[in-house]
């Protein structure tokens, strides 16, 4: 795939997250997809990640993901993105906070030859999220 095709693929996945399109996500993830970002109670598999998105869509109905920047090489794409949401239901064992937050995240996705997601790694500003919703104090 060309870098432009890789970027279009990432945009399509982000659009699917924004319209809560679980069918698109299921179709996009390779059957042997591997999740390297550890999430409490979520198996690092295709089915685990689909369950995570279902839980996220239910607990954060206003969630928005946007791509700020991308770096592509071969079959890998790094995405610097922004995730904004309000958690109004329980999610991964965390009770609702009902307070909006907006944080940056870094993702690296490995893509198969036919354009499916093969693996994902990611780090998000969880500390920033916890500060914004008041779970931990913000520094002065």
């Amino acid at each position: 795939m060309t870098p432009e095709e890789m970027r279009k693929g990432a945009e399509a996945f982000y659009d699917a997250m924004n319209r809560k399109d679980i069918d698109f996500i299921r179709e996009n993830l390779a059957d042997d997809f591997v999740e390297y970002q550890e999430m409490p109670g979520i198996p690092p598999t295709k089915e685990g990640v689909i369950k995570m998105f279902e839980g996220m869509f239910a607990a954060m109905p206003d969630a928005r993901s946007e791509i700020i920047d991308t770096v592509v090489s071969g079959n890998k794409i790094a995405i610097r993105g922004r995730f904004s949401a309000t958690q109004t239901g329980e999610f991964m064992g965390m009770p609702a906070t009902n307070k909006p937050f907006s944080i940056e995240a870094m993702d690296i996705v490995e893509v198969t030859e036919d354009g499916k997601s093969k693996s994902h790694s990611g780090v998000m500003d969880a500390m920033g999220m916890m500060m914004q919703v008041g779970l931990i104090p913000s520094p002065e």
Binding site: E38, V71, A78, M106, M124, A126, I136
Partner: protein, 143 residues
């Protein structure tokens, strides 16, 4: 400089962080580079980053190890995904009210570097600080 040179430069930079080779870090980070990484506001420029990394490696986590899991580039940007491990067997971390308890830390750190002329001018990055705080026992939750 082409992409291959930029990737080689960041490979050297990550090796220098692992080896605590601050001369090489100083050579690669522009003195006034824009630090968009974790705690970037508190660590503006190369000397502040070196001071912070020195303190982390010599006082907080004397057995600190870092392994590069991903490294690639495009145009003037290079991405690295690094796994950091260590145990808090040295001094406590005063700013986070953490006593030296020997707890293991194991987190990932993803950075995008922007280079020009073989030097880093800007970074954007995320480290899982929240997970690290949980592993250190400074926050509830975690694994």
């Amino acid at each position: 400089m082409g992409v291959d040179e930029n990737v080689a430069t960041i490979s050297r930079l990550e090796e220098a962080y692992e080896a605590l080779d601050w001369d090489t870090v100083r050579e690669i980070l522009a003195p006034d580079f824009q630090n968009g990484g974790p705690m970037g506001d508190q660590l503006p420029g190369a000397e502040a980053v070196i001071a912070g990394a020195t303190q982390a490696a010599t006082e907080y986590f004397p057995d600190k190890k870092q392994v590069v899991l991903d490294l690639f580039g495009e145009d003037d940007k290079v991405v690295s995904r690094v796994r950091l491990t260590g145990s808090n067997s040295g001094k406590g971390i005063d700013w986070a009210q953490i006593p030296p308890n020997g707890n293991q830390v194991d987190v990932e750190w993803i950075t995008i570097y922007r280079l020009d002329g073989g030097q880093v001018l800007q970074t954007w990055g995320q480290m899982d600080v929240a997970k690290m705080m949980m592993q250190l026992g400074a926050m509830e939750g975690g694994n």
